[in-house]
Symmetry: C2
């Protein structure tokens, strides 16, 4: 199966690296907007040696004369921003897998653009899905899957807690580690600190469960160091941010029905992904140590290539895709 | 949505109890072969008060004049035995959810009957799925789902370990607790001791991963009490079986690639459901305390009612169904 890779940033490069290691999937074309990349060999840019695939500045050139089934789009987080790329891929007859966070569950939050994407996909008999490890799996799809064994669900609580100490410096910087309150708040204002997709994750679960929140809370605050922390890329003094905590809470009739807790901080004692379902039965599901987002987001994107070709046309979500499990061959 | 319940044994009764507590699903008819039950009110038999639904000895009578969408079949474990019931439901235009263990993944193990079921479903534009907590979820569907975040899977190990001490007496008896070796082996020979579905679970995961085992092992042995155990329905002396352990192992090129461990025993120190995936990333997912099978099998059967009406026609598996998550309303 041939795919075209759209977006050759850090995430796209990892997807390319992963695809070239997999049986049954081949990269037939590549697209990016960066003039520095145009014309270069995709494999060289991805540091895996030449692939014979030049990076093009447009989709038509990239797939010309080739039998391509799927476009993998790893370009932008905003569904509004990525709409044109999706429409172009759909009109070229390509199924679409995208890491666009807002696309993971956009129907209610961005209804107009979602409807247009759904229509252009249906008109061209292709399917489109937004996925990734989060949003797309840990805090939405997996909890929805786990409710399958429940006769009753009263409450869903989800925790993604990551010790950022061993992570890349850009990741530690991204979560605000080492910033004082003023610097942290300034970064909040630019929007670069926010994990994108928490409302989408909550909406996916709520829609799956048939819940409509009448009140929501969506908070973002620094995790403040209480003592000196030296496990990160720089020492962090007491009173300084060592990371970020984002919480989304949904209420129905004054009752808290769902909470999603995203915490990433240097010096956090434990990393884990935990889902707590209260109902019948009540149970929790834990991944001790948590899941590395860099590997997992690229992996689920590659795995979804098979699933999207088996999905019904239109804008789909992880909820209605066949299981996008890992495969040795397509 | 109206459903017809086929099979009013202990499992079917629990499904009926659950459905009557759910919004958006109504039981319109009931079928069983037991002459003692025919003509009785379904609700009375299920001990939830009259439902105005008489138990019939045939499907046509049960659904006559009603707009029924789904047949829930909780009658038999063997796909060969249940084929006629499925065919009759399909020919009546009903989608089918069944707890038939072998139906959870029958394509390779029972190819002929599976193909006939697939054909009769497609001919009548209905979908059919076998589900349950195990097989159907814990040891097959959920592990397959978890591989979605992997770039590489080297090995899958699954443990379902249950302390049977707090369980019903029939369950403790079913797993051989209190039997000496001769009694245990006699019970093995009758086939009543075996958990049905372990090869099906392994086959579901292997098919999802694209693996073909060239050697398999499928063992069943007693778990022997090493000291006197008094937590069960009868005291168990040293040397006597306190439960059963079943292990399915799959190999490729001499390498153990998958193992499924099913252990249920009185006096087991801990209950848990654990999935260990070795690959990139390697991780484990644990449900401490494990999942109560009685509740969960009935619950997932009810939840799959919604999913099966959204599935493509034919014999489906949990792998290609939309997420059969819990729902507040259909």
């Amino acid at each position: 199966m041939n795919i075209v890779q759209i977006g050759i940033g850090p995430l796209g490069r990892r997807v390319v690296q992963y695809i070239t290691k997999r049986e049954g999937v081949t990269i037939a074309g590549a697209v990016d907007v960066d003039p520095e990349l145009i014309g270069k060999d995709l494999g060289d840019v991805c540091e895996i040696g030449p692939l014979g695939v030049p990076i093009s500045d447009n989709l038509a050139t990239a797939i010309e004369g080739q039998d391509v089934s799927v476009a993998v789009i790893t370009s932008l987080s905003s569904v509004v921003a990525v709409e044109n790329q999706i429409a172009a891929a759909a009109e070229a007859g390509l199924n679409i897998v995208s890491t666009c966070e807002e696309l993971s569950f956009s129907l209610n939050i961005n209804p107009d653009v979602s409807q247009r994407i759904d229509e252009v996909c249906k008109a061209n008999k292709v399917a489109c899905v937004g996925t990734g490890v989060n949003p797309g799996f840990l805090m939405d799809y997996l909890p929805s899957v786990l409710t399958s064994i429940c006769q009753q669900v009263e409450k869903v609580e989800i925790y993604r807690v990551q010790d950022a100490s061993p992570r890349r410096i850009p990741f530690q910087q991204k979560i605000g580690a080492g910033l004082n309150d003023e610097q942290f708040q300034a970064k909040v204002k630019t929007g670069t600190l926010r994990h994108v997709g928490l409302p989408e994750s909550a909406d996916m679960i709520a829609t799956s469960l048939g819940w409509k929140f009448d009140k929501i809370e969506d908070t973002l605050e620094p995790v403040i160091a209480e003592e000196r922390i030296t496990t990160g890329y720089i020492p962090i003094e007491p009173g300084i941010a060592r990371g970020v905590k984002q919480v989304f809470t949904g209420f129905i009739n004054g009752v808290e029905k769902m909470s999603l807790h995203f915490l990433a901080a240097v010096g956090e004692p434990e990393s884990y992904d935990k889902i707590i379902i209260s109902g019948n039965p009540s149970f929790e599901s834990v991944i001790p140590g948590g899941i590395n987002g860099d590997v997992a987001t690229s992996a689920i994107t590659v795995n979804a290539i098979r699933a999207i070709t088996r999905a019904q046309p239109g804008l789909r979500t992880m909820l209605d895709l066949p299981v996008p499990g890992w495969f040795a061959d397509i």
